[in-house]
């Protein structure tokens, strides 16, 4: 019995890496570190956003892909992270690097609390309530009682800084490396979290909640923690995003942001850590590409790309690559 179910579970979880996979990751990191010295500042800005989106998508992926809770409202957590950064720099004068963990903690708490009603919601119901959260976010940010802190409709500027320790780097170069370092740490943390017993519990809840419960997994606690961790990731991404944009305003965090995040997570590939990177590349570059194809109907072209991707790869880019990889391996073995 156990033998039959084990491969299913194992397939869903990140495994220990083979030698060439580890080499690939190291090579990717080395290239990523060299990049800021090789490209124009505009391209650097785009790549910084890819890194930041990758963090946000990984957060969403932990919740939606591994735990099976669909969220169409992660833009709200991104916004909370961004506003935490802006407000604490402007009003409290804290150094930007110390705010990153604060934003993470704030979003963990917000996510945990939003997870409480979400505990009773499944599938479509959760999708709809988080959709409502995303639609309401700009209005909540404009709310006049909070205007003293948020800057209301006008938003708040976020200043730039100098690279630390007298490093000979421009602010945008430093910001890219800073984000990359945080992303690497968070990816490692997620990988470690998901391959251990916590990861098994999280995916077991997705695959069979009742069986998970009989195995003694505290479903409510794990779901809440997953929601919190997921929001924490997305919030940290939001905090970094505020530094990049140097500006936060309610209309930067519309429903469109939330939808983009979900699109990125699904197209990149759910329940895959590297899917987050593919998804981030998609939501950063495909709109630009669509814009080059047609200025008049950019978003129609983008929508066509989304539908085509889903038609060709229903399990996302990561899922598609996995199938290809397995086919190659089987051919080599036979």
């Amino acid at each position: 019995m156990t033998v039959r179910t084990e491969p299913v579970m194992a397939a869903a979880l990140p495994k220990a890496w083979s030698a060439w996979q580890a080499t690939g990751v190291v090579a990717l990191l080395v290239i990523a570190v060299i990049v800021p010295f090789a490209v124009s500042s505009f391209h650097l800005l785009q790549l910084t956003m890819v890194v930041i989106y990758a963090i946000a998508l990984l957060g969403l992926n932990i919740l939606t892909g591994y735990n099976g809770q669909i969220s169409l409202g992660h833009g709200a957590f991104y916004a909370v992270g961004a506003y935490t950064m802006a407000i604490l720099i402007e009003r409290a004068g804290m150094p930007y690097w110390s705010i990153v963990p604060v934003a993470g903690i704030v979003c963990f708490i917000v996510g945990f609390l939003f997870g409480l009603p979400a505990l009773r919601l499944e599938g479509h119901y959760l999708a709809l309530s988080t959709f409502a959260l995303a639609v309401a976010t700009p209005q909540l940010l404009k709310f006049h009682a909070l205007e003293k802190w948020t800057g209301g409709v006008q938003g708040t500027f976020v200043p730039g800084f100098a690279a630390p320790l007298g490093l000979p780097l421009a602010w945008d170069q430093w910001l890219y490396l800073f984000s990359l370092g945080i992303a690497a740490a968070l990816f490692f943390f997620a990988w470690n979290l998901l391959r251990g017993s916590t990861g098994i519990a999280i995916t077991a809840i997705r695959d069979h909640p009742i069986a998970a419960k009989t195995m003694g997994i505290n479903i409510s606690l794990y779901k809440l923690l997953t929601f919190g961790v997921s929001a924490m990731y997305t919030g940290i991404a939001g905090a970094l995003g505020a530094l990049v944009a140097q500006f936060v305003s309610p209309d930067s965090f519309t429903i469109f942001l939330s939808l983009s995040l979900l699109v990125g997570a699904v197209i990149g590939g759910v329940a895959s850590i590297f899917g987050a990177i593919f998804g981030a590349l998609f939501i950063q570059f495909v709109p630009n590409f669509a814009d080059q194809i047609s200025k008049a109907v950019t978003w129609a072209v983008y929508g066509l790309f989304m539908i085509t991707f889903m038609y060709l790869m229903p399990n996302g880019i990561a899922g598609f690559l996995k199938v290809i990889g397995e086919r190659l391996r089987r051919r080599r073995n036979s």
Binding site: T64, I70, L72, P117, R120, L121, G123, H124, Y125, A127, L128, S129, F131, A132, L133, V135, A136, Q139, L140, K142, F143, H144, I210, I255, L259, L262, V263, V266, I267, V270, A296, V297, T298, W299, A300, V301, Y302, G303, L304, F305, M306, I307, M310, Y311, P314, N315
Partner: protein
């Protein structure tokens, strides 16, 4: 007292729009267990068709009917061409496909009809208005009630309506008795598209017409569908009227207009947490 009555009644008028959108959403959900995020955009596009015809000199009600026919055909086409390709795809892939359609329709509308906010004519004579309701609001309630009645009669009294209900409820058994389930689904999409179009054409004189006009309305439609019970079409209609009134009263007396959309969020969460099946829905029991 007069203001209160005014708010209450115009809430009912808006509620009619939410009821129609809610009904359209529930019809598709019942048949396919998917939530059509592009429902609002389909409706918006049909309203633009109506506007273009009216501006070209077609009489209002003729334009209205042509737009409905267009919405119906477009709905059928979307089901046949796009949606059915994803019958066996994971739920999340289907959500992304609907979002893709939302982007496509929205962008096409902006390109064809511009993003400018435009006025939309109302067919109802001003003399119809009273102290509490404008002429258009009265007409809107009337049109919504007629639409609901027609849809009810269609499903209750015609063989085609019966076949469609059967196909949604039990596809395998329906296929065995010779119902073409695939086409019934497509017809359901067409009908939902037409009902949505009625909502958008009725809403347009109030919210004005622009490609993003339906975003808020769609959200209230979701709230209506959940409040009434997502597996009960008539519940969704009643839910729409309740949401309309609640939104208007809360906007006037509790939170002010700037937080109106958050009312929908609160309604959705409160309903789902306290009574997940909705007011009139049945509780789904899953066998283990």
């Amino acid at each position: 007292m007069d203001t209160f009555l005014h708010q209450l009644l115009s809430g009912l008028a808006n509620g009619g729009i939410y009821a129609s959108i809610g009904l359209a959403l529930v019809m598709i959900f019942q048949a396919t267990h998917h939530i059509n995020f592009a429902q609002g955009e389909q409706a918006m596009f049909s309203a633009y068709i109506a506007l273009t015809l009216i501006q070209a000199g077609v009489p209002y009600w003729a334009a209205f009917l042509i737009a409905l026919a267009f919405a119906f055909i477009a709905g059928v086409a979307i089901e046949r061409v796009v949606v059915r390709q994803f019958d066996n795809a994971p739920v999340l892939a289907v959500v992304v496909v609907f979002l893709g359609m939302l982007f496509i329709i929205n962008s096409l509308a902006g390109w064809l009809f511009t993003y400018n906010v435009q006025a939309f004519p109302s067919p109802f004579p001003v003399g119809l208005g009273s102290k509490f309701l404008s002429a258009h609001e009265i007409g809107m309630i009337g049109v919504t009630l007629v639409t609901l009645a027609v849809v009810y009669a269609f499903f209750r009294f015609t063989p085609l309506g019966l076949a469609m209900r059967a196909a949604a409820q039990n596809p395998e058994a329906s296929r065995l008795v010779g119902i073409r389930v695939g086409w019934m689904l497509a017809l359901g999409w067409g009908l939902a598209g037409a009902i949505g179009a009625v909502a958008a054409i009725m809403a347009a004189p109030i919210v004005y017409i622009e490609p993003n006009m339906m975003a808020g309305i769609l959200l209230y439609g979701f709230a209506a569908a959940l409040l009434g019970g997502i597996n009960n079409p008539w519940g969704a209609a009643v839910g729409g009227f309740i949401v309309g009134v609640a939104e208007n009263l809360a906007g006037a007396y509790v939170v002010g207009t700037e937080l109106k959309l958050s009312v929908a969020l609160v309604i959705i969460i409160v309903v789902l947490v306290t009574k997940p099946a909705g007011l009139f829905g049945r509780t789904v029991v899953t066998r283990v």
